[in-house]
Symmetry: D2
Subunit: 409 residues, 4 copies
């Protein structure tokens, strides 16, 4: 509870903590739960090193927040010790609302609630336990704070959250192309009329940041095999609900069966705070032996990394192809047509590198002018960064592999 704590981080070296409230939060079971949520869900099936946790990412983002605040203060930006603490707490807890397999199951396990919504509920609950110590942090997190730039450091298109995950995910996957010059970007940050800005000479770094981000999307986050595995997990949850299967985890069951449909999520919050990747993974181990062929095939497929086959297309997948794959699934696994939809399905994947209608990345020019990065008239700025990129996928049972495997092992 006293003194300084130094945590070894392979990415930044050492992370320092020297505030008793922050130590208190680090020790809290709600924060410790993030150890058991993988930052990158099932990306580890393609990138074996990508097994780092949400807790680790949150710590890293906290470290960048420390650095960012230090730099802004050295540039004369007025930030009180209380505001500094609040910003650090806000970033430390920004992912507290993530559930098992984070983005993969976001909106699936808990409908109509984003992980940010849940983070806010959890912060409020912790705040009661900690006697109001998080009140200011909650205001920063929910953009109710006078100093908007503090919120922007926590959540915007150039926040320390994105910086850390790009760096960290790049580090753990070994995809060196995702590396960004975070030190340079942090040093280019400034505050103008209460908003976070980037100094003019930081334009190249921002462009580089956006390109790295797009690279990581298509090389890693939306890598076809990763995407396929994550869709399989979604299909598993859907199947469980459809056939009324049960998880061995009673807590998880609360989010699977219909019995809680009438209850407010707030009433289930405590349960939610006990859920993590372990509940899902253990369930898959049980469901791998479930009598329902669809459920067992998909569950075993993830466990043994015996995934569906997957292809990307620039345009929507032809219906004939989908039908053909479903027919094959029906024949080989002897399942009904509706069941085959779990084993041969299609959809779209999209990424938006920069959203010009979202919270802007603003450039502060030497002459005092301010411009959204997407509006900068500069030969180096790449208009193609500012839009949505879409691909269409089909996932389907790999006859050669699955049928044989299913029968032998």
């Amino acid at each position: 509870m006293t003194g300084r704590k130094i945590i070894n981080d392979p990415v930044y070296g050492f992370i320092n903590v020297d505030d008793p409230i922050i130590m208190e939060v680090l020790k809290h079971p709600y924060y410790q739960r993030l150890r058991r949520i993988h930052q990158m869900a099932l990306a580890q099936l393609v990138y074996p090193g990508a097994v780092h946790s949400r807790l680790h990412h949150s710590l890293g983002a906290y470290h960048l927040m420390n650095n960012a605040l230090h730099i802004l203060k050295s540039k004369g930006v007025d930030i009180s010790p209380e505001e500094e603490q609040a910003a650090k707490l806000a970033i430390l807890l920004h992912d507290a609302g993530h559930g098992p397999y984070s983005h993969t199951l976001e909106g699936v396990l808990v409908k109509n609630k984003s992980h940010e919504d849940i983070t806010l509920l959890i912060m409020r609950k912790m705040n009661e336990q900690l006697g109001g110590a998080l009140s200011r942090a909650i205001r920063v997190f929910s953009n109710q704070c006078d100093k908007k730039f503090l919120h922007q450091l926590v959540s915007s298109q150039l926040d320390v959250d994105r910086m850390d995950y790009l760096i960290r995910d790049s580090f753990f996957t070994g995809v060196s192309e995702g590396v960004i010059g975070y030190d340079r970007i942090l040093n280019m940050l400034t505050v103008h009329k209460g908003e976070l800005m980037v100094e003019e000479k930081g334009i190249h770094s921002i462009e580089k940041f956006l390109v790295s981000r797009r690279f990581m999307y298509w090389q890693v986050y939306l890598h076809k095999t990763v995407m396929c595995a994550e869709k399989m997990l979604v299909k598993i949850i859907e199947r469980v609900r459809e056939i009324g299967a049960e998880s061995p985890s009673p807590v998880l069951n609360n989010f699977l069966t219909g019995k809680n449909d009438h209850r407010l999520f707030e009433e289930l919050l405590d349960d939610y705070c006990h859920l993590d990747d372990v509940d899902i993974m253990y369930s898959l181990k049980v469901w791998a032996h479930h009598p329902d062929k669809v459920l067992s095939t998909l569950s075993k497929g993830i466990l043994d990394r015996n995934l569906l086959k997957v292809q990307y297309f620039p345009q929507p997948v032809e219906k004939d192809l989908v039908k053909e794959k479903r027919d094959l699934a029906m024949r080989y696994l002897m399942v009904s047509e509706p069941d085959a939809h779990y084993l041969a399905f299609t959809g779209e994947a999209k990424s938006m590198t920069y959203n010009p209608t979202g919270e802007h990345i603003n450039i502060l020019f030497k002459n005092g002018e301010v411009k959204d990065i997407s509006k900068v008239d500069h030969p180096l700025i790449n208009q193609s960064l500012f839009g949505t990129t879409k691909k269409f996928y089909i996932c389907y049972l790999n006859m050669n592999v699955h049928v044989e495997k299913i029968n032998t092992i």
Copy 2:
């Protein structure tokens, strides 16, 4: 099944696989199971990055084996393609016998069987499934191969297993002091009279390797908090057995309850191959709510990283101190004296950097002489490396923290 596979590894860059049998093994559920066994057990409670898997380590060791064989062949050592394949398969599977939380529970879940014993059983079982493709690899692994140096590359005091784990564990913990010059060491390897040797000019590198290894032992593997968490896990298993508690995992139960005491391990092998860290971690989540206070306190302690307090001493811990701590545990948790042994216990930790009575590290001098590294008369070689270092620990309930926490959260 065809062609080349390239796997991104943050440590070495890219790992190449281009042999169909090796691809077959990579896809096998017994190999994929290693994804769910953490390489460093509970070290992640101190080093948040240390969450890499046994699968990842095995792949890395395989990569070093590739490099080592390439270098030896370029030095004129005769290695046939079949032998090369066998050595690669042997190293890829060398950890297949590890169970949940590997070394921590080795000898606890399965008594009287080392993980190497079990690896051999598993390799044999896979060999049947793969039509004998692993026969030669089994001979390399079990030192039945003519070319002893192949076995030594897999298992000796300077094998690619140790090299990879030092490098990888150092990488993921961020403890840069563990870095070894593996490239230099590999380039210094040679074969003399069928045995693996190190060229004379590699002496410094070997010394550096041994010092790094010792450093990692005391800074990481036997870090007092890591050690404490792992002993807590052992105590949990012992408690479960004592009170006849059950795991929610039927497969794990087979290794906890006495009902299989009369059966040969071989009959349980299939079950064993379905066990991994998930079974344990999920059990902890259930046991955290067990009516037995000892079991729930320890289980919750690991989950929430609310660990026992721990101290190291150079000599055995004084009995009075142990008694005092047990008395406190009895009083505060209201448990019996025998139960307090789970909450205040003592033991010893030891590391041996180099075992002069084991499989030697031999130096081949330019004049043709061969000497065990520990016998080299060289001002730089550090005699203190060649012995066992011991410390004695005590772990005990942290009254301030535990009692309060246990009651509030």
Copy 3:
């Protein structure tokens, strides 16, 4: 002369050499001369780590060539041992023709000869000395070889030269944004109809490569201060010629004074092979005390890193501004108007990330189609990469700093 040589490289780890002819070339004084030519000229005045040599870069490019050839052969491309050796020799010597401060003084010291022209002359001269051992390498270098892809590996828009300098310059400057995934790019290379191609799935990596290259141009190579220092060096040479000053180095003088204007460069080739950065830097030390104020100011300016002030503009610099700065120089240094042109001058800097009219980067699609990267219809490919970017600069005497300094130190 025998055996293997292993060279430590901080970028790639170890570089292996095991061919006697290549060792012979490494030892040749013409190759060793490259130790004394900085890879990045005066960039070290901004990036203090950027002091690596052309020799080091050539070794690195040689290493990448090794890897590239290994990968192509493993994909079934037919490359004979002689061709392999030739490609390695060609890349090792590709920069042998660079003179002092390489690109900065290219076309200045020796007019009408590119460094590639001179490389060819030097390779031919060495070839005579080495009994024809370089004949095939010369054909690869000058694109006279049947297998065009070998030449393309040495010199094209995706050659190992560019890859190494991006990686290496990024490494030594510490500009992490220049990092490229060279391993991934090399693994994506293939040969189709005798030409070097990139597999379809390598498109993102190529885009990333181009963006990194552009980043390095504007952040490093054309960094305004670097550019200014290099232009100052050009002005020094021009001034020396104008006033008929002499270098203390007789060899350098051969390229400064008019006395050799009538001779063929070939006759001066031997002298050229004795020139390096040391001749220039030593001359600057002497010229810093030259009675000509222009020469001494510029020379001392580089030595003491007391550079001219510099600004970039998106359009040509206004004449009034240039005049104003020249007037100031005239007044403060008491020099004539023509002399002031050395102390206040303007010009343009441009970079071309990808030249669609040059040697193409071709993508080989899975369906067998081949397309220039700039013609790929792909949402991620950024059209803005395929053009020339220009900026206009002005450099001028920094009154506050220079005048005072000149008088005091």
Copy 4:
């Protein structure tokens, strides 16, 4: 002159400067001169990346000083802003007294003055120019400051100078074994009774630091080829003096010929401040064509990396062997016996990893006790670290290579 300056460093990322006096010093020609002195002299002939400058190292040590002071202050050590500035200035200038090829020619060009003596003279001279701004820094540097620990950070057996050079030299050579956990060491520093100490739990890190240092000595600094090249350079200077040869550099000549023997070094200080590696390297280029065969052979030998052959022995080199090599030199180069002493010579190399009689590394135990690291009774501390290691070398003309080369190129 105003604001913050950020310098890219490949080792630490960014180095920040925000003090006007420090910026003034950075710009001073005496500091800029260090750009032209290689940190590792001729080690680049073996490690091609080792071309970094003394300026770069000084900047790095300054960065570590920043960190160290920050950590000590956070532990409650009282350090005033003036003291902080003084310590930073002292470390920035600690190497200002180094001459061309630093340690190699230390005591050779200027007899009876260590580089520290000269640093002090230079600091005093700069102090006059800067109006006394360095007075306090001079007291820190020369251990005249009340707070002894500030001096110890600049100069002791665990100072930031050593830390930076180990890290930096390891980085630029690519010898990964030299890596030390500087972050961990800095975090373990503390002050006790005015002296710098290491906390008890830092013992392993200190041991690791000492082992890395020893490794770098024998693998790099005293690598036989590096040592040989550096001895050749010393022999060149001796030969120049013996035969009364002249350097083309008049400034260097002041330190070569006897004409200044009667003058105080202080009178030559200004000249000394104009000397750097360029004067030596340019002289070698001239001397390579000197009629004296000894001088030209040695000079050309370094330029073309055509070095003498060298061997290490554990005991003094046998006289017969030396005689044999001298006879060969006499015969093949047709030189006299005394001249042959330049081409076949012997001597000893030694390193001391830790000097127990020097400025101690003190460990502060939790119980308040203080012990010199070499006196710590701890199974892990390696007594063999605390002594001097010696080897004996012979360098001699390589007949096969030299004679032929000398005649042909």
